[in-house]
Structures are given as C-alpha cells and as structure tokens.
C-alpha cells in the first residue's frame, strides 16, 4: 500500500471516471433520483472529501462522528484523531420538500451542473451551541467559527460522497492546485524525504520567510547535504473571505514570488493551495491542519504563535500545547513549534525570540501591521518585506482586486471563482 494518509489509511480518490459518471447521472435521472443544488461552502468540502484531502473521511459526518469529534476529538471509531466537524446542513423545510430520507442516493449539483452522488446514511439534529463550545471553546457569535456554526441550518445529513464531475480550477490557481496524490508524486520527483508544511492565508513578510527557513534548518538535521533531500511546502488556504483579508490571488502569487526571486532555492520550495474555509478554531484547527497535511504527504508541520487563532479567544501557545494531549502515535506528522520572530535594531536583522538577547529593543511586526503599512501606500523596507512581493501585491490589486489588494464588497461580487463545475458531457 502506498500513499498512506491520516489515520494510517490509504488515500482513496472517490471519483468516477467521466464515462461512468455520465452513465450514472443518466441512470439516476431515469430513476428520478432526488437532486439537490449545493452552495459553495458544501461544494468545496465535497471536493476535499473526494480527492482525499480529508482522508479517512469518505463523506459528510454522521451524528456518531460529529459527537465523537466534539466530545473526544476523534472519529466515531474512537481512535482516529479529528478536530473539526465536517457537516452537510439543510433546513427542515427544504428537507421535507426534497423528500430526502435515509438510504437515498441523491444527485448533488453545483451551479446546476451534475457534481456528486451523496449516499444518505444519517439525518440528524445537533445542539449548535454545544458544538460551538466544544470545538471553539466559546459560544460568542463574534468568533467566525461560532458564527458559521450558528448559521448552519437545523438538519444535518451524513453519508458517503462520490465525485462525478471534477472541478475546473481557474486562473491563476491552476498551477497551484495539486491533489494529495499529485502532491506526493511531485515530492517524489523532487527527491524530498522531508516535507515541511507552512500553513498560510497571508501574503508573506520576512517574519514568515524566516519562520520557514528556521524550520527547514532545524528539521533538516543530520540528513546528507549532497543534494536537497527536503523541502518547504507552502500550502495556502483558499476559501471564504472576510472584507479586509488579502485577496486569494495575492496570497498565492506572493508566496510563489519568494521562490521565483530566489529567497528560497527553487529545488527546496513549492507553493500549492488547498480549498478550506478557515474556522479560526486555534488549537483544534492546528490539529485539523496536521491531519490535512499528513494527507498531502508532509512529514513536518510548522505551528507559529496563535496558529489559526482569532481575537483573544486562545492563548498564543494553546495551538502548541494541544499536541501534548493527543495519544502518542495518533498523528503521522511531526509538529515544529515556533516562538516569535522580530526585527532587532541591534542585531539589525529579523531574528528569533529563542536566540536574540535584545528583547527590550525588539520591534515586533505582525501581518496586521504589514497590511496597515501597505494600505497606507508605503513600501516597507526590504528587510521586512521583499520588494518583489510588494510589487506582486500591487500587480494583483490591479489585475484581480479591482484596484485593491484587500477583499472588498466589490471583489466578493465580481471576482472570478477559484473553481467552476462545468456541464458533464
């Protein structure tokens, strides 16, 4: 068995070949199977399930899985670590209207085109407040993950998914879209034995750059240096956006620019994207990221200060401590924990909290601060922000952001979608 993913299970793509998919759609329509058009949020997760990004999940969670995830941070088997519920929601009214019931095979469509088969195995309700408390540690609706939870409809459907119609990934994301199997192939081609994942939803400043370099040097350890035996995978999260976030196009192209302009050697650096709506679940999301990147074939995963956190809901190092609470051997990926990186005016460089002795002189900088500088139209110094990355932001603002590098209402309305589902023929 090759391509072992999270939970020790082989990555299996749940996708029908085109001819079989067309036949299946015809058969389902002839048998008057129920059809359901899904929204982007659900479509994204259908794709993730089908390609094995969420392996060993084969579909949307049943109640037993959701309960186990919330209560024990495992799937219903009680062993496989899983931190975030993956659910398919539907209003009671729509459910009644559709007539969907247990054991049905439903034809899912997206933008009215055939998309996937959903084998309904469970229909259930959830206590959303309880779920929010257990997953996010709060019931405050200002927390974006809690808000998403409260916005779920009142009924949930669990069951396996089979993709009928693969997504067309649109520019400029096409070359960054690699499925777990394709990613593993790419690592093999590159000869990488060690793959360090850098999770990001940001345009990189040099603090990020040094985080990656530090992790690479630390993890490379005693491997022979005759040729590069390891690399850094920047796996950018592309998903639902909030106003003020960087636009997706700027995130991915600016990450790539670090390699293109030599801040990382081409043979130790790869930029890709995964489709995921950030839940900002802090420590739980860190565990989820570890599972996701195990499926991509990574051996190491970086976790910085306040990883996947938001506001002040989590202690900055909660996302590190949670790994101590997991049973030994339950994850097949090595976490790399990072302290802060800052600019030290005495050392005159970006340096690491764990080594720099000028803490009282430090000039901390954050993604928020860099955004603020860029919003003011000011080009930051190259030691803080690479000029080629800045130029790429400006290019993306013009080309993709309708004049703005940050998400605006206009961008949300007019942007080219990341993927489309075309007619199946």
């Amino acid at each position: 068995m090759e391509n072992i993913g999270h939970g020790g299970k082989e990555i299996v793509e749940r996708i029908l070949p085109k001819d079989a998919a067309i036949k299946r759609v015809n058969e389902m329509r002839a048998a008057k199977a129920k059809e359901l058009d899904v929204r982007l949020q659900i479509a994204t997760e259908v794709i993730d399930i089908a390609y094995g990004f969420f392996s060993p999940l084969e579909g949307f969670m049943t109640k037993a899985d959701v309960d186990a995830v919330c209560d024990n941070m495992t799937l219903a088997d009680g062993k496989t670590v899983w931190a975030i519920p993956i659910v398919f929601d539907m209003s009671d009214e729509d459910l009644k209207k559709s007539g969907i019931k247990q054991n049905d095979e439903v034809l899912l469509t997206y933008t009215s085109n055939p998309f996937a088969v959903f084998e309904v195995s469970d229909i259930f309700t959830l206590d959303k407040q309880d779920m929010a408390q257990k997953v996010y540690g709060t019931t405050d609706e200002k927390h974006p993950g809690v808000k998403r939870t409260y916005q779920y409809q009142d009924k949930f459907i669990g069951g396996k998914i089979t993709l009928l119609n693969p997504p067309k990934i649109n520019e400029p994301f096409t070359r960054f879209w690699l499925t777990p199997k394709q990613m593993r192939e790419r690592f093999k081609e590159k000869g990488w034995e060690m793959i360090i994942n850098h999770q990001t939803r940001n345009v990189p400043h040099t603090g990020h750059e040094w985080l990656m370099k530090g992790a690479y040097l630390g993890a490379y350890g005693s491997m022979m240096v005759d040729k590069p035996r390891g690399g850094i995978l920047v796996n950018a999260i592309i998903g639902s956006k909030r106003e003020g976030d960087y636009i997706d196009e700027a995130i991915i192209l600016c990450q790539e620019a670090q390699g293109k302009h030599g801040y990382f050697r081409d043979d130790i650096f790869l930029t890709t994207c995964s489709l995921w709506d950030m839940r900002y679940a802090g420590p739980r999301e860190a565990v989820f990221h570890a599972c996701l990147r195990t499926n991509l074939g990574c051996t190491h995963h970086m976790f910085g200060r306040d990883h996947a956190g938001v506001g002040s809901y989590y202690d900055p190092y909660d996302a590190h401590r949670i790994f101590d609470k997991l049973p030994k051997g339950s994850l097949n990926i090595t976490p790399i924990f990072n302290l802060d990186w800052w600019f030290c005016p005495v050392c005159d460089e970006v340096t690491y909290m764990g080594v720099c002795g000028h803490k009282d002189k430090k000039a901390s900088f954050s993604g928020t601060m860099i955004r603020s500088i860029i919003q003011d139209g000011v080009k930051p110094p190259r030691r803080i922000f690479r000029p080629e990355v800045f130029d790429m932001i400006m290019e993306c603002a013009e080309k993709y952001g309708f004049g703005d590098a940050f998400v605006t209402e206009d961008y949300l309305k007019r942007r080219n979608p990341v993927f489309t589902i075309e007619p199946l023929k």
Binding site: D306, P316, S364, T368, M369, P380, P381
Partner: protein, 112 residues
Amino acid sequence: MAEETYPINLWVNEERLEKLQAAGLAGMCKEVLAGLKVLAVPNTAEQRDKILKLFTMAKFDTATTKSIELLPKFVKDKIFDLVVARKKIDVMDEFLSKFEQTGDAFWSQQIA
C-alpha cells in the same frame, strides 16, 4: 504614570515626510522596523472604542503593536491632513466630531 493611549499608526513615505517637515512635525515620527517611519496619532480609550464602532473593518491589535490598525486609506489620509493642517497630532476629537456631523461628505471636504 503616563496615561495609556491607543494610537493610530500613520506610516510615512517621502511624500508624507515632506508635508510633516513643512508643518514642523517631522521630529514626531518614530523610526521602527529597519528605518521605516511612523507617526502615532494618540486616542483615548473612549476615542478608540468610537473609531472601532464607526469603522468596523478596523481592529485594535492587542498582540503586537497595541494600536488601531486596518483603517481604510481614505480615513487615514484624512487624519493625516488634519495633523498637517493643525500642526499637532492631537486631532482625534476634531476628526470624530467632524465625521459625526457630516458623515461620508467629510471625505471629500477640504480641511479648513
């Protein structure tokens, strides 16, 4: 103990620096981050709360800078214009009262 302020950081490029020099305020800029200049416009806690309520995209960065960040450029440009026109950094009372009186029309008005 000095009273705590909640600044809005106005990042300073050459164009802004020239205007600050003309207003005699260039000396109020601080150098941070490898020579990058910033002018910190102070706010009281009450002004901070008002700003965050009026401009919902803004946030108070509690972790790193302890400042009000992510205000849109046109808002920060207006605050900068007020600083230069009044030749002082303590302008937030005037800024808030003018915006509350005139609403969005404020953005296109010249500072008298």
